[in-house]
Subunit: 360 residues, 2 copies
């Protein structure tokens, strides 16, 4: 047991005078193996850090005097925000031998093996567990374990609702670039690059103008109810109606996560990794299609996405994307695509609306 | 043997109709292991690609009908520039099993084991062999081997003169950043990061405004004369006079390389990786000092830099930087620092100039 109290106060962190930040075990004095630069990247991701800060500090009246568990605390930044917000105690659990900084003790233990003193339960679990395409690295399981072991029945999860989205897109930097390069056509290099990329999802920044249709939801998880088993396999059949003509070259994935608003005057804070928002270190995840296709407005597109835990490393996922025949899929109602059945449905809905309108 | 002729022409590359690009061996049909994305990074480095393009294409009258050897051809972009410039033949040698693209054959052989047909000699060796801080990865040795084996006595090297520079600098992103982070003082994290970085040079972008003195040359290599042995150990004792006050936190290294101007109307093209120029993928190399020091204008600084080939991997270098007592070092003449001897020398020079002036 060690207290951050003195240290934090000495360093002049405002609002920490009332907080006792307790780390649950002394760190091994072993070598520090994890490069701080990875954490620096995450800290420097302003959308990420700012969302957590706002979600926590805007509800200081809720956090006041609460007991918090920070799962996968890393550099401890979320713990410090909770302490700033008035938390009475923050247990920071970190599995990697990240660092034993001056006034901080980080344990080399997974949350599965943690025991809080006198089987204490916590009011809040904060965690920044999201990986690429939300699920990569499977750290959510640790949060769910912590929830089941340590969260009070009315306790809160920060974040508590997460969603994975997808949309068809163009990938100009994997195509256009090679076709005219300093007066040379290097498209064979582009073909090769795409072939290599075809074997695994690529983490890259997708421009919002390169999305070819409105996004669809792959899955939404309510973290109070989700079980580890639910994460073994996630699948979704999706139909899109092209809203911008262009070269259909990839499937773009991203996620949002949303924080509870407990205080009456607070609104839900959403951290979005959408191409429509400020880019984050998660960027977007792209599945590069083996063949491109030119699509125009109103064209229907369909695919089935399956995310399954990998065999050897259960924390990794295999992503499978199967392009489907959109004519054989059930479309949303109404659907903007130009397939006869969808045009017909739109017409019926329009007429119905007119009829209702004329009856008013 | 395979010809790029047909392929290049079919793909409409201008200026290739007269060029026969010959690759010296059939590639193994083995798996492609090197990620093209590394080469993409280099191709996308516009300062790099543009410098080679300009150095080569601006001297098309020299390249016309010449035989060229491209050492470490990678994606073959330099070979294509030479072909565009009118080269009769381009031998492209690539040691890695990079890729066997449609119309291109890249050999899986080091240049040391290459034999050109009928012991042909070449007019030009082009190569982009530079690593971080110029020498990292030691690919220059392969170019020197190729020079000794294949270059005609009056043949040219592209590039032919390279220089390594150093200057003292501030490293705000390794310091300032942590001291005020979302209302928190995370300086222990910064200390830790710098401690980790202390064990090896960091590749990072240094802002020109963070340089604290004019740069000094660590070494200049004339590649017509340099031997592999010259590269085993490079050292330099350097004295700087601080030109901008600030926090002296690191030693910044970068390099320039310069291409021959053979045509009468051509000027030397210089590819610079200086903080004063457009940033390249080489960025700058920084040695983070264990302690920072506040310096003001006129302060003298001195160090000895030693770059030595590593023990286990002779292609890697160990860099050692020893801070010296500037009072005990020989300063350049004139030197702008405020040490009495340098002030005195400046005064004498000034007076001498006045005397000379009054005699005129």
């Amino acid at each position: 047991m060690a207290s951050l109290h003195g240290g934090a106060e000495e360093r002049g962190v405002p609002g920490l005078a009332n907080a006792l930040v307790v780390f649950s075990q002394t760190a091994e004095d072993g070598e520090i193996e994890v490069q701080i630069s990875v954490h620096r990247l995450m800290l420097d991701d302003n959308a990420r850090t700012q969302a957590y800060k706002q979600a926590i500090l805007s509800q200081a009246n809720y956090f006041s005097d609460k007991v918090v568990l920070d799962v996968g605390a890393g550099t401890g930044i979320l713990s410090l925000f909770c302490a700033q917000a008035g938390a009475r105690k923050v247990y920071a659990v970190e599995a990697s031998r990240l660092s034993s900084l001056a006034e901080r003790i980080v344990i080399n233990k997974t949350v599965e093996n943690v025991c809080l003193p006198e089987d204490e339960k916590v009011d809040v679990i904060v965690s920044e567990w999201m990986g690429f395409y939300l699920l990569h690295e499977g750290m959510l399981d640790s949060v769910l374990t912590a929830r089941d072991k340590f969260l009070k029945p009315d306790g809160k999860l920060f974040p508590d609702i997460v969603s994975l989205y997808s949309a068809p897109c163009s990938l100009p930097k994997f195509y256009d670039h090679w076709e005219e390069f300093h007066g040379l056509d290097l498209s064979p290099l582009g073909d090769e690059e795409r072939r290599l990329k075809g074997s695994q999802p690529d983490i890259t920044e997708v421009n919002k103008d390169d999305l070819l249709a409105s996004h669809q939801i792959v899955c939404e998880l309510d973290l109070y109810k989700t079980s580890s088993k639910d994460l073994d396999s996630i699948s979704s059949r999706q139909v899109f109606s092209v809203s911008r003509e262009g070269r259909y070259q990839g499937v773009c994935l991203w996620f949002d996560c949303s924080f509870p608003s407990i205080s009456l005057d607070a609104t839900r804070v959403v951290l979005s990794t959408s191409p429509h928002c400020q880019q984050t270190h998660w960027k977007q995840t792209v599945l590069v299609l083996p063949e491109e296709m030119y699509v125009t407005e109103g064209d229907p597109l369909a695919w089935e996405l399956i995310l399954e835990r990998g065999g050897d490393d259960w924390r990794h996922y295999n992503i499978q994307c199967t392009l489907l025949d959109p004519e054989e899929e059930r479309h949303p109602v109404p659907c903007e695509c130009l397939l006869p059945k969808c045009c017909l449905i739109r017409e019926i809905i329009d007429k119905h609306a007119q009829t209702l309108g004329s009856q008013e």
